[in-house]
Amino acid sequence: MALAHAEVGNKAHAPKKRAKRIAYFLLAPGLTWLLIFFAFPLINLAETSTKTPAPTFETGEFVQTFRFSNFVDAFVNNQEQFFRSFLYALIATLFALAIAYPLAYAIAFRSGPWKNLMLILVVAPFFTSFLLRTLAWKQILGAEGPVVSALQFLGILPPEATITATAFSVILGLTYNFLPFMTLPIYASLDRIDYRLLEASGDLYANGVTTFRKVTLPLSAPGVVAGTLLTFIPASGDYINAQLLGSPENYMIGNVINSRFFRVVDYPTAAALSFILMATILVLVVIYIRRLGTDELV
């Protein structure tokens, strides 16, 4: 039905106009919803970010003063959390990549009749509550859990040490919770590789490692890029893992935004922080779009 060509001639115009009208009618509800409840709130948030507390000093009351230095202040006061967020997110992404790639490879090429089952099991954690999963980790890594007991028994861990409330457990939580987001895109692009390409490579004198380096890896690059973005972006804005598995020393920028909103009731700073976070992420997205075009996004 796609009338992709510019048609000349009076007969052609009527159905083409109708098609366009149908397209706009289909797009209208969803796009309007997104405009009102996604785009507009963001603009609203931008507007809030340059406000200052009202002269009356009433909690939650602000006036618009176009105080752009809010951004500078917000960044400077929370540098530590910003850097920590991106650092944790980066480490978690790298760990996730290291764990997910071989797993995706195994499912795509070495799973035989178990392929579907394995895929389901990889996605299965998604079906339980995110919070329950993270709390389970808190339990597993906790002082009364098996991991600590085992490590203490083996003498690796001193008697009073804990694993929870450390950077390690926060990063573990992040890695774990975003693992499906990394695994599935990599699996999808590996699965698309024609096995005969690998056979051809072997026929042309490449051993297993070389075939992987020169053929498999480059062909799975789109999946790796997608998985990386899908992991890094939400991870940098997360605060649940930090709150449940970490201590205030490990708090990320998400925690700050949350507390600025609810506890301190400082909407302008919370807004400014949100935008700085978004801006950084958008830079990455723009680089991604430049490489692959918008049709690949959706």
């Binding site: 060509h5 510019a6 048609e7 000349v8 001639g9 007969k11 052609a12 159905p15």
Partner: protein, 370 residues
């Protein structure tokens, strides 16, 4: 529920043009396909044959021109309002419906009453009644093809369009289906319009063949006419193989034209002359040449001084490449029936052919001569 108009008659395309932006796929095409005939649209990829078929089906709209069946103009009607059905290249059977429901689809949309009887009738015609409860995914390629045909034919359309329906089948199955299709067409009596790039297919099945190139029909006629008397180099090379020897026309002699081919005098009937001026490309099919040992006598048009440069054995025939004194290689097919002399590479030979088999084309014909 849409009811196609009760239409009968010849299919007439009148000055039909189809452009996609700057690109003209079909260029001022005019064509009449007689009712009840088996018609083939033959041509290479991109020549516009599929676009033409889709316009007849209503799946594309002509940029200008009209299409009618008999006295009814169908140019502006929707596909579901035309008494035309299509057999698609990859069959396009509905994967979520049973074979029975696939075949019944068109009948149901038209509100026909005794669906069961009609579906049984065509399934018996293609001998696949036992598969009626299966789904398309469970059938082989050949079976799917027959069901696609049944699904179209059951609607008793005025016109049946076939878009390269045999392309996905292996050779043996294809040959079998060619015979079956021809038989069904004669049984059912519907006009068939068959689009293909396979010249053998077109020639064996069709009553009339139109060869298309760059959006135009180069020549139209019976398979024999097109093969024995092509009017352009393109048609000559698309249907089978040809040899073309450049020459100039020197005069006439009664019923014949006299031409000079690199110093040799040959003749051919005036009726087979399509040259516009003096420059002429003389065409001879490889199987029309006769090979003789050098020095022996020959009747008809004779070319001496040939040397055999290559011999290929084809079982039924042997193909010889013969280099002539003017450095052109000519292709010769000799039937392996003991009639040709025993020859080897490097042997000197004389070529001859009967003048009536010559086809003379314009010397300035732009299509690549072999």
């Amino acid at each position: 529920m849409s009811e196609p108009k009760k239409v009968q008659g010849d299919l007439v395309l009148s000055h039909v043009t189809k452009s996609f932006g700057d690109f003209t796929a079909v260029d001022d095409l005019s064509l009449t396909i007689p009712k009840g005939s088996f018609f083939a649209l033959l041509g290479p990829s991109g020549c516009g044959k599929t676009t033409t078929l889709r316009m007849i089906a209503g799946l594309e709209e002509p940029t200008s021109g009209t299409i009618s069946i008999g006295s009814t103009d169908i140019t502006d009607t929707k596909p579901y309002e035309r008494p035309v059905n299509t057999v698609f290249q990859n069959y396009a059977l509905f994967p979520h419906l049973t074979i029975f429901e696939n075949v019944a689809f068109g009948l149901r949309r038209r509100g026909i009453k005794n669906v069961d009887a009609e579906v049984e009738r065509v399934l018996n015609l293609v001998e696949l009644s036992h598969l009626k409860s299966r789904k398309p995914g469970q059938l082989s390629g050949g079976q799917q093809q027959r069901i696609a045909l049944a699904r179209a034919v059951v609607n008793k359309p005025a016109l049946l369009l076939l878009d390269e329906p045999l392309g996905a089948l292996d050779l043996k199955l294809r040959r079998q289906m060619q015979i079956e299709l021809k038989w069904i067409q004669t049984e059912v009596g519907i006009t068939f319009v068959h689009v293909t790039h396979d010249q053998e297919e077109a020639m064996t099945m069709a009553d009339t063949v139109a060869v298309m190139n760059n959006g135009r029909i180069e020549q139209m006629g019976s398979p024999a006419e097109l093969y024995e008397n092509p009017r352009t180099v393109f048609v000559a090379n698309f249907l089978g193989q040809s040899n073309f020897i450049d020459g100039s026309i020197e005069g006439t002699d009664g019923e014949n034209v006299i031409a000079n081919l690199h110093g040799v005098r040959i003749v051919f009937p005036k009726t087979r002359n399509n040259a516009n001026g003096k420059a002429v490309k003389v065409g001879i099919r490889p199987e029309k040449f006769r090979l003789h040992d050098a020095g022996s006598s020959a009747i008809g048009n004779v070319l001496t001084g040939g040397i055999i440069t290559d011999i290929s054995f084809f079982g039924v025939s042997t193909q010889y490449m013969v280099e002539m004194p003017w450095k052109q290689e000519l292709m010769v097919f000799e039937q392996n029936d003991g009639g040709a002399p025993d020859l080897a590479k490097g042997d000197a030979v004389t070529l001859s052919w009967e003048p009536q088999f010559t086809f003379a084309l314009d010397g300035t014909d732009p299509s690549q001569a072999k």
